[in-house]
Every structure is written in structure tokens, then in C-alpha cells.
């Protein structure tokens, strides 16, 4: 088909690309100027060799992974049950899943501090492990809209109700049905939700800062106040990590069940006639 050249569309796309890429390029360019008079990766070396960076990054990675596990265990069965048995409650659950986008994280943290502070029945903030638990719980809440939507969309795509009935008619228990039929078919949705959770939690500032935990978000802000070139290098590294995660997410989303990684399929996979 012969596509018509549209100058207006080209100008808009070019402007949008410039809007995103020019600041990124400027940041990258700036991050290379640590050594006077020449371009170098000194800022990156400085960041990556810092013990504080490694501790903060490791803390955030571990907390993010914990948030992903808790999020999946909480949201996947909830979304499954709502779709299967309580479809009338779906609008309400969807609304609840949107609340973290409306209520600022600072309100959430102050709520946590009031509920689990030193004077409460369950004083989680008085111990390190308790405060870490609150950080993970906070990450689960702020990633809820993304995780819920990813999993719910995945469920909409596979008709879980008929698949559940098919498995049960073959003698499978509800647990076996979830483990062997539902979850494997939600793999790409769960991976998408997991990467989104990871991206959001990794650079999160408010929760970690107000609960006074040594996470990556507060470290970034602190570094921005103390140094010039390292924050730019960290920003570029964060962008690169996010893009890699998005790429992996896309690859999972497009992958067919029998597709191997890094190898092109050569066997006949086309549709056959009846």
C-alpha cells in the first residue's frame, strides 16, 4: 500500500523525539565531562565503585523483588477470584486499585507511621525488619495500579472462567488449576507487572526517605545535592535499566508458548487445515 507523506505528522513526531532525546543527550554529554577538557566515563566509574551506591542499590533491588513477590501473591489470586466468582465487584476493585495514583505516597507513609509507630499495638517502626516490611508494603501499594492492571488484562485475554471449568471437569482441584493452568498462562502479564513494579520501586523516594531507609531513591537525591556529574551518570544508568526492563517485558509479552529464546524456530508452525 502506498502511504501518503504527511509533513504535519513528521514535524510532530520529530518535535516529540527532540523533546525526549535532547535533555537525555544533554545529561549524557554532561555525565561524560567529569575530567576537565576531555570526555570520559569517570562519573560512571565513581558511581559504580562507591560502597554507598552498592548498598543503596542492593537494598532497593531486594525490597523491589520482595514487593513483586508479595504483589503477585496478593493480586493474582484476588483478580482471579473477582473475575471468577465476584464479577460484579470488578468496578469496585478497579477503583481501589487506582487509589494509589490519587492518594500521594506521603499520606500513605504518615498513615503507616500512625498505625505502626512506637505507640501502636504493632510497633513495626521500632525495629529495622519492621520498617523494611513497611517499605515493602508501601512499594506493593504504589505499584498496585500497574500490577493489578497487568494481571487483570492477562486474565481477560485467556478466558479464565472456561479454562478453570475445563480443568475442573478433568478432575483438577482449584489449587492445581491455578498452578498448572492459570498462572502459566499469565506468565507474560505477571512479568510485565513485575518489571513495572521494579521500575517504580527502584527509584522510589518518599516512602524510603520518610521511613529513613538506605534506599536508592534517597541516595540519588543526596548525591544530587553533593555532586555534579555522578547524578547525571546515575540518571542515564537508571534510564538504561528501565529500557532494558521494558525490552524484556515486550519480549515476554510477544513470546509464544513454544518459542525458544535466542533461536529462530524453523519447524512448521503455521496453521493447518482441518
Amino acid at each position: 500500500m502506498n502511504r501518503k507523506f504527511r509533513p504535519g505528522a513528521v514535524i510532530i513526531v520529530t518535535l516529540a523525539c527532540l523533546y525526549f532525546l535532547v535533555p537525555l543527550y544533554a545529561t549524557f554529554q554532561f555525565s561524560l565531562q567529569m575530567r576537565r577538557g576531555e570526555l570520559s566515563f569517570d562519573a560512571y566509574r565513581s558511581v559504580l565503585s562507591s560502597d554507598v551506591f552498592l548498598r543503596a542499590f542492593t537494598y532497593s533491588v531486594v525490597a523491589s523483588i520482595a514487593a513483586i513477590i508479595v504483589g503477585v501473591l496478593l493480586i493474582a489470586p484476588t483478580a482471579y477470584w473477582v473475575r471468577l466468582r465476584l464479577p460484579k465487584l470488578r468496578p469496585l476493585v478497579e477503583f481501589l486499585s487506582f487509589l494509589p495514583l490519587i492518594i500521594p505516597a506521603v499520606v500513605l507513609v504518615f498513615g503507616q507511621i500512625r498505625l505502626f509507630g512506637s505507640s501502636s499495638i504493632l510497633p513495626l517502626t521500632t525495629t529495622e525488619i519492621g520498617t523494611n516490611t513497611l517499605v515493602v508494603a508501601g512499594y506493593v501499594v504504589i505499584s498496585l495500579p500497574y500490577m493489578y492492571r497487568a494481571i487483570d488484562n492477562g486474565m481477560a485475554a485467556i478466558d479464565i472462567s472456561t479454562l478453570t471449568e475445563a480443568a475442573e471437569s478433568l478432575g483438577a482441584s482449584r489449587l492445581r488449576t491455578i498452578a498448572t493452568v492459570i498462572l502459566p498462562n499469565l506468565r507474560s502479564a505477571i512479568v510485565s507487572g513485575a518489571f513495572l513494579t521494579f521500575s517504580i520501586s527502584l527509584g522510589e523516594f518518599v516512602i524510603a526517605s520518610l521511613l529513613n531507609r538506605p534506599a536508592f531513591g534517597p541516595y540519588l537525591v543526596q548525591l544530587g545535592e553533593d555532586r555534579a556529574y555522578e547524578p547525571a551518570a546515575l540518571a542515564i544508568l537508571s534510564f538504561a535499566l528501565t529500557w532494558v526492563l521494558m525490552g524484556v517485558m515486550q519480549a515476554f509479552a510477544l513470546r509464544k508458548p513454544n518459542q525458544r529464546w535466542l533461536r529462530r524456530r524453523t519447524s512448521a508452525a503455521g496453521k493447518s487445515s482441518t
Binding site: 472456561t162 471449568e165 471437569s169 478433568l170 493447518s272
Partner: protein, 353 residues
């Protein structure tokens, strides 16, 4: 092979009764169709047998065992769904083996059984494929193999052919019937397609408003419908009001012409008005000595359908349809022309409901 019995089963959703006093006894290896319009309760009956819905009252027995309150997984049933419902993450072989694995059948026996099943459905070489690599017809055949592999007591088919194109639908229904007869498995088939139900069933239950209006063989359902609904729903029907002359001898008049009904109008008295029905093939175009009565009719429409021509006409004050075989040497009547139509009382159905 198993018997299935439903004893006065009721089902309500809130205040709405969707199945009322449904009674059925199926013999071993019988193929029974639940036929009816959308919302008549046929799928609800099937889902209650499967265990996906619980009856509000009544009892369901498989082989004399009360399964009313058992979960679907405990009933030993096989089911085919309209939307295939193959597990997308599993190969064809794994799909067929699923029920066997759940039952704890050993690997060797499982593999042998899967191979047997794939041969039975005519797809012996597709065990390694995934559902998305198969056509709709192939997917539904795999669904049949998957349902049959654990050797269920009852096979339940929930409109399994509805999503397929016409040609595949016809060939697959014949295959399903052949496999069902070969395995001798008691089967319930839900459909709203009367031709489908007629062509493959031992018996048909015609459902209307949650009630089994009539249970009978396809021959009985078509030729001897017991209610007006069944008569209208199954096939095309011409309905006439006749005046009873002698109920004991079945004598009535239609537009002042005499007819003798084989189907005696029980309980009617002389002078009463009665509804009778005649199939399009029971009305003969032209005068015929073999028929009792001849009435004039005006042709309204002519539909050429190949070997058969369906005429729509106005006869005795009511619109009627009549079928006549196509004869290349005799052109059909033209719309607007007057013709004679012959009919006999012994082919008429007396409508009660």
C-alpha cells in the same frame, strides 16, 4: 457406560426460575440433545450435571450414585466447550494427558492412551503442536480427545460446534457421533440448531422456559410434536383453525372442506374450534386423488432452493409454506397466480399446548 438420572431438578437465580421440574433418565450409551432457544435453560441443565451450578432442588444421579452436591472434579465427567478451552500453555499431547495426569495414571500408560486418543480423532502426528497452531476444527477434536481420555462416565457437549464454519460443523458432528457410538459413552449435547440435534441424537429434549416440553426421538419430535411450541420450534409448520364435526371419528372441517384426523382430538366436542398443523411437505401442489381435500391458494412468493422449491401462499385465510420438488420440465407457479393445494387429515398434527 453409565446411566444418568435427573429427578425433579429446579434451578433459580434470585427470583428467576430458569429450570423447573426437569426429569430425565438416560440409558447407557445414549446420545441425547437438549434443544431450545436462547435462555430456555438447556445450558443450565448441562452445567448442573457437570457440577458448575448447584440445583435449587432435585437430585442428579450418575450410575445410581447421588452426585448433586459433588464438585465437578469428583463427578468423572468429560466436557467440551463452545470456546474449545484448550490450555494454551500445553501442547496437544499435554492437553490430552491432563486428565490422566490428574488421575495419577503412570507415564507409560498415559502416553499410550494419548496416542490412542490422537489416532481416534485423526490427528496422530500433531501431539507436539500448541493449540494456537491448529485450526478451529482441529482444536475442537483435541478438546474431544481430552474430554474422553480419562474415560468419563458421561460426556457433556456445550454447543461445541457453534464457533465452527458450516462445512466443518457438519463433518465434525458426524465424527463426534461415530466416536460416541464407538466408545458407547452416555452423552448430552446442548444445541439451538435443530438440524444438528435431529441428525445425531438418539433422543431430543425440547426445552422452553426452563421446562422440558417434549422428550422423544427425532422422528417423534418432528412428526408428533405434543405442544404448539415444539411444533413451531422444530421445522416449519402451517397452523390452521378447524371446526370439530365428530370428535370420535376425528372429523373436522377446514374452510368448509372435510378432513379426517388420525390424531383424535381428545376432549373436544362437536362445534369446538381446534388448532391443527401441517408440515410444508404435507401440502401438495395441485389436485391429487391420494389426498382428502383440495383448497384454492394464492401464491405470494417462490423460493428456489435447488432440489426443492418452497412456495409461500395464502390458503384458507392463513399464510402457508409448501414444498414441491424441482422438476426441470415444470416451471414453478408465479407469484400472484391461483393454484390448488391438496392435503389430508391423517398428516395433520393436533396442537394441544
Amino acid at each position: 457406560m453409565s446411566q444418568l438420572t435427573l429427578r425433579s431438578v429446579f434451578k433459580s437465580f434470585g427470583a428467576t426460575a430458569v429450570v423447573r421440574d426437569f426429569k430425565l433418565t438416560m440409558r447407557d450409551g445414549e446420545f441425547l440433545s437438549l434443544l431450545g432457544p436462547s435462555g430456555c435453560g438447556k445450558t443450565t441443565v448441562l452445567r448442573m450435571v457437570a457440577g458448575f451450578e448447584s440445583p435449587s432442588a432435585g437430585q442428579i444421579e450418575i450410575d445410581g450414585r447421588d452426585v448433586t452436591h459433588l464438585r465437578p472434579a469428583q463427578r468423572n465427567i468429560g466436557m467440551m466447550f463452545q470456546a474449545y478451552a484448550l490450555f494454551p500453555n500445553m501442547t496437544v499431547g499435554e492437553n490430552v494427558a491432563f486428565g490422566l495426569k490428574v488421575k495419577g495414571v503412570g507415564r507409560d500408560e498415559r502416553e499410550a492412551r494419548v496416542a490412542d486418543m490422537l489416532r481416534l480423532i485423526g490427528l496422530p502426528d500433531l501431539g507436539a503442536r500448541y493449540p494456537f497452531q491448529l485450526s478451529g476444527g482441529q482444536q475442537q477434536r483435541v478438546a474431544l480427545a481430552r474430554a474422553l481420555a480419562p474415560q468419563p462416565k458421561v460426556l457433556l457437549l456445550d454447543e461445541p460446534l457453534s464457533a465452527l464454519d458450516a462445512k466443518v460443523r457438519v463433518s465434525l458432528r458426524t465424527e463426534i457421533r461415530q466416536i460416541q457410538q464407538e466408545m458407547g459413552i452416555t452423552t448430552i449435547f446442548v444445541t439451538h440448531d435443530q438440524e444438528e440435534a435431529m441428525s445425531i441424537s438418539d433422543r431430543i429434549v425440547v426445552m422452553n422456559g426452563g421446562v422440558a416440553d417434549q422428550i422423544g426421538t427425532p422422528f417423534e419430535i418432528y412428526n408428533r410434536p405434543t405442544t404448539r411450541f415444539v411444533a413451531n420450534f422444530v421445522g416449519t409448520l402451517n397452523t390452521f383453525e378447524v371446526k370439530v364435526v365428530d370428535p370420535a371419528l376425528g372429523r373436522v372441517t377446514l374452510a368448509d372442506q372435510p378432513l379426517t384426523l388420525s390424531d383424535r382430538p381428545l376432549g373436544a366436542r362437536a362445534g369446538d374450534t381446534l388448532s391443527i398443523a401441517l408440515r410444508p411437505e404435507a401440502l401438495r401442489l395441485g389436485r391429487s386423488d391420494a389426498h382428502e381435500t383440495t383448497l384454492p391458494a394464492r401464491i405470494d412468493d417462490v423460493h428456489f432452493m435447488g432440489s426443492v422449491i418452497r412456495l409461500r401462499a395464502m390458503m384458507a385465510g392463513v399464510p402457508v409454506s409448501l414444498d414441491t420438488f424441482n422438476r426441470p420440465d415444470v416451471p414453478p407457479p408465479v407469484p400472484g397466480s391461483m393454484v390448488e393445494v391438496s392435503l389430508s387429515g391423517h398428516e395433520a398434527i393436533v396442537l394441544n399446548g
